[in-house]
């Protein structure tokens, strides 16, 4: 007992000292990121390799990181906040956590609808949320749009992920922007009526449910589809690009903003700019089977097999602006 205690206290003290000791004053950038360790580390490693600048980062949920950034105020060590949904970037902007970045590189590399109008945040990768279906039970001609999934033809055949996931909140937010609240609510109610089973807590389970025959069609982010297919190539499911005759596929971004009190401002901007260029763009996108935000960079890897699509050209900030409306609408419609 005494030995254990002593051992524990010594190791604790050692850890403490290690954590409290002054970090070396080499150039570095500090990042809060909700893009997870395994999806972002290769990019940071590459940057450090090329420039010698160290990138320190910590991961968590978007909401938690934004709350932390706000609470820390001008004490925050963070230079950059990377989030995985435009709604989160918009929210951080609303709380005054970002500062504008005046950079020719970024405005050239990032299309206007994928960045803030005042340049307080910039997209880094594009993710598409589209339809996935069972080729055994559905002909692609039967499919057209998200809106059409509310039609009675799909009764008992639709699978959805929970409305608590921000991706669905963003999708509904864009529908509110485009169709108005009333029509959007009617569509969501139609979806709920058509549900084959309880909503899922992740896209992967949803795709597996379609493959297993629990339902025929669903709405997912393409990279979940890609990951699952990479693991189980024979899974009987296929992608369909939604709304090609109307608004285009619903797209969202993962993106980055410079914090209002960034201690390493110049280094941070350099990292932001670098991440919008070809090599890191490809790496970022490929890590997670997404699309580069930079139109000059061609998508690589598996995603090329899914063909090209026309994306929604609304500014992705809509996702944030109408998020609260969207959540309330889905609550009203009984979409859990």
């Amino acid at each position: 007992m005494r030995i254990t205690l002593r051992l524990v206290s010594v190791s604790l003290l050692a850890g403490w000292l290690a954590a409290c000791s002054e970090p070396p004053k080499d150039p570095e950038v500090v990042v809060y990121t909700s893009r997870k360790d395994h999806l972002i580390r290769p990019v940071f490693d590459l940057y450090t390799q090329e420039t010698g600048v160290k990138v320190r980062y910590t991961t968590d949920d978007d909401g938690a990181l934004i709350t932390r950034l706000a609470a820390e105020g001008n004490n925050s060590p963070a230079d950059l906040l990377i989030t995985v949904d435009a709604g989160n970037l918009w929210q951080a902007t609303e709380q005054g956590l970002f500062q504008p970045v005046d950079s020719e590189v970024l405005t050239t590399n990032v299309p206007a609808n994928l960045r803030d109008v005042d340049n307080r945040w910039f997209g880094q990768t594009v993710r598409a949320r589209t339809l996935v279906y069972s080729p055994d039970r559905v002909q692609p001609e039967e499919l057209s749009s998200y809106e059409a999934l509310a039609e009675p033809a799909w009764k008992g055949r639709l699978c959805l992920r929970t409305s608590k996931k921000v991706y669905n909140q963003s999708l509904v937010a864009t529908m509110i922007e485009r169709h108005g609240e009333e029509k959007a609510e009617a569509i969501v109610r139609g979806w709920v009526d058509n549900l084959a089973t309880d909503v899922f807590s992740n896209d992967t389970a949803l795709i597996e449910a379609i493959a297993a025959g629990q339902c025929d069609v669903g709405i997912v982010n393409t990279y979940y589809f890609g990951r699952l297919i990479a693991e189980k190539p024979d899974l009987p499911v296929a992608l369909f690009w939604a709304n090609q005759d109307s608004s285009g596929v619903h797209i969202n971004i993962s993106g980055v903003g410079l914090t209002a009190h960034a201690p390493n401002r110049d280094q941070a901007i350099k990292l932001m700019e670098w991440m919008s260029t070809a090599a890191p763009q490809q790496l970022l996108a490929e890590q997670n089977m997404e699309y580069p935000v930079n139109p000059a960079v061609q998508p690589t890897g598996v995603v090329t097999a899914w063909g090209e699509f026309r994306g929604d050209d609304l500014n992705v900030a809509v996702a944030g602006k109408r998020q609260v409306e969207a959540v309330k609408l889905m609550d009203r419609a009984g979409y859990r």
Binding site: S11, T204, V327
Partner: protein, 537 residues
């Protein structure tokens, strides 16, 4: 667990006593983050409230009630029956099950949840096999309240099992014999003597299990089962309204406090003194009953531990060790270090509070203890936010005054404090029980026999306290290693743990890659569970 020990002495202030003052200060430090959440009531969030009340609130409350009742019944049935079996009966495999039934304690609830759903879902192996075998079987949704309740009961019953088992063993042979001599049948003796005598222990285990149920977010969100914590997260992440989230969280805490108080009040003035027991003689049931008991214990062990761990192992083997690299040992090391550090700090605090409570029978000390042990009922992330907000405020003030920059946030201290606030209740239970074993008679005897105070500490206090303190250390260690939200929010740069890695994988839906850290976490947790059990053999 005496969160609500409330001595009946009249409410008057004691002579100034440094120990009580320190205890009050400790309680205040623990309560600060919670008080910060209370400040949320200064804001007007009626819009969020109205929306919730109009739409989901009623079903959330109904779901929460269902979950609490269901898990309550579940952990009582499992925990008490298994404890009674292993403590008083002899059946095949009894020695093994004695400790093996505690192993589910090492499995985080969210891990069992995602394994259970993976196995039992429409597309999972069980239903697929059933479809192959039976033409009539179409398949069904696995996202059902019953499954959530079963999952949580399987993970949480060890709290009841552990404490009830010790209580039953401590009753020894004498008590049951006396009951039988007075003409009670074995069944009646169990219901009318053994069970009521074990009530404080069972209630303490139940309280821990239910507080964890109320605070759970991970397991319920795997099943997309909406409870009160869902409303908290919806307000925070969906509406970006931290204030409303904090208001909801403080209501949850109030509910817990009231329930604990009701339980205490229900116990009334009953005393649960026990004679020193003669060693228990186990009952040996007839042959087929012995095997029935063995079958029951095996089933629980299989479902709560062997099958989920087997599934994790399968994933790890299947996915290969692609995530297993040099950094992996860092995760294990951080997990252990944080667990050990937090365990020492938390248990030291618990011992201090227990000592004050024991030696100063004043209502102020009871109040301090009660205040310091409410953190367990808070959803981890809400508590973490409370700690972060209060520390950030202190940091900003320090910076303004002395230009220090961030001192607390991002340091280990904040994280360890968060653990201590959250798990003090867990540590306090066994420590308090240990203090209760030191009866005044023993101390008087020591003095009469001429022991110096130092000698009394060494030869009476320490030996009698050690078992409880060790239990507390191990329990906190296990809980901290499984803890996720506070670790995520407050860890210093680079201090990733196994739980962090599990979060990163599961939040991307990559269950099979979460298996490696999950399995490691279970394995690392096995050692403390084993030690815990060996101690109470």
């Amino acid at each position: 667990m005496s969160v609500l020990t409330w001595s009946s002495s009249p409410l008057k202030l004691p002579r100034p006593d440094p120990l009580i003052v320190i205890a009050m200060l400790l309680a205040a430090a623990v309560l600060l983050p919670i008080a910060v959440l209370g400040l949320s009531w200064l804001g007007d969030e009626s819009e969020v409230w109205r929306h919730l009340a109009d739409t989901v609130l009623l079903s959330l409350l109904a779901n929460t009630l269902l979950l609490v009742l269901g898990v309550g019944v579940g952990v009582l049935l499992l925990g008490v029956s298994l404890a009674w079996m292993t403590a008083t009966m002899e059946f095949p495999g009894r020695r093994f099950f004695d400790w093996a039934l505690l192993l589910p304690l090492a499995v985080p609830a969210y891990v069992l949840a995602f394994v259970a759903l993976d196995l039992l879902d429409f597309s999972g192996p069980v239903q697929s096999a059933l479809r192959d075998w039976f033409d009539g079987f179409r398949g069904t949704s696995a996202r059902r309240p019953a499954l959530v309740i079963i999952t949580l009961s399987l993970v949480l019953y060890p709290y009841v099992y552990m404490l009830a088992r010790v209580a039953f063993r401590a009753q020894g042979r004498t008590l049951m014999e006396q009951a039988r001599i007075l003409g009670l049948s074995p069944v009646a003796a169990f219901w009318r003597v053994a069970l009521p005598m074990a009530r404080p222990a069972i209630a303490a285990g139940l309280a821990l299990a239910l507080m964890e149920t109320l605070a759970d977010f991970g397991a319920v969100s795997v099943f997309n089962f909406d409870t009160f914590t869902t409303a908290i997260y919806k307000s925070w992440y969906g509406f970006y309204n931290l204030n409303a989230a904090a208001q909801l969280a403080s209501l949850l805490l109030l509910f817990v406090l009231v329930s604990l108080f009701v339980e205490r009040a229900g116990r009334g003035r009953a005393r649960y003194e026990q004679q020193s027991a003669r060693k228990l003689k186990r009952v040996r049931p007839e042959f087929w009953r012995r095997w029935l008991l063995c079958g029951y214990a095996s089933a629980i062990f299989l479902f709560a531990f062997a099958i989920p761990v087997g599934r994790l192992l399968f994933w790890v083997v299947d996915a290969g060790a692609r995530d297993f690299d040099a950094r992996y040992w860092g995760l294990v090391w951080h997990t252990l270090l944080l667990g050990a550090g937090a365990a020492v700090v938390t248990v030291a605090t618990a011992i201090f509070l227990g000592y004050v409570r024991r030696t100063r029978g004043h209502w102020l000390s009871a109040l301090a203890v009660r205040g310091a042990t409410v953190g367990y009922a808070m959803p981890g992330s809400v508590l973490a936010v409370g700690i972060m907000l209060s520390f950030a405020a202190i940091d900003r003030w320090l910076n303004l005054q002395f230009g220090t920059g961030a001192v607390l946030i991002g340091g280990l201290f904040a994280l360890i404090l968060a653990y201590a606030v959250r798990f003090l209740a867990v540590a306090y239970g066994p420590v308090e029980a240990a203090f209760e074993r030191i009866r005044p008679r023993i101390l008087e005897a020591a003095r009469t026999l001429g022991a110096t105070p130092a000698e009394t500490v060494r030869r009476v206090w320490l030996p009698l306290l050690t078992p409880g303190v060790l239990s507390a250390l191990l329990l906190v260690l296990i809980d901290v290693m499984k803890e996720m939200p506070a670790t995520l929010l407050l860890r210093p740069f680079g201090w990733d743990t196994l739980a962090v890695r599990i979060f990163e994988m599961t939040s991307e839906g990559e269950w099979s890659r979460a298996a490696l850290p999950a399995l490691t976490l279970v394995l690392v947790g096995l050692l403390p569970v084993y030690l815990l059990m060996k101690r109470t053999r």
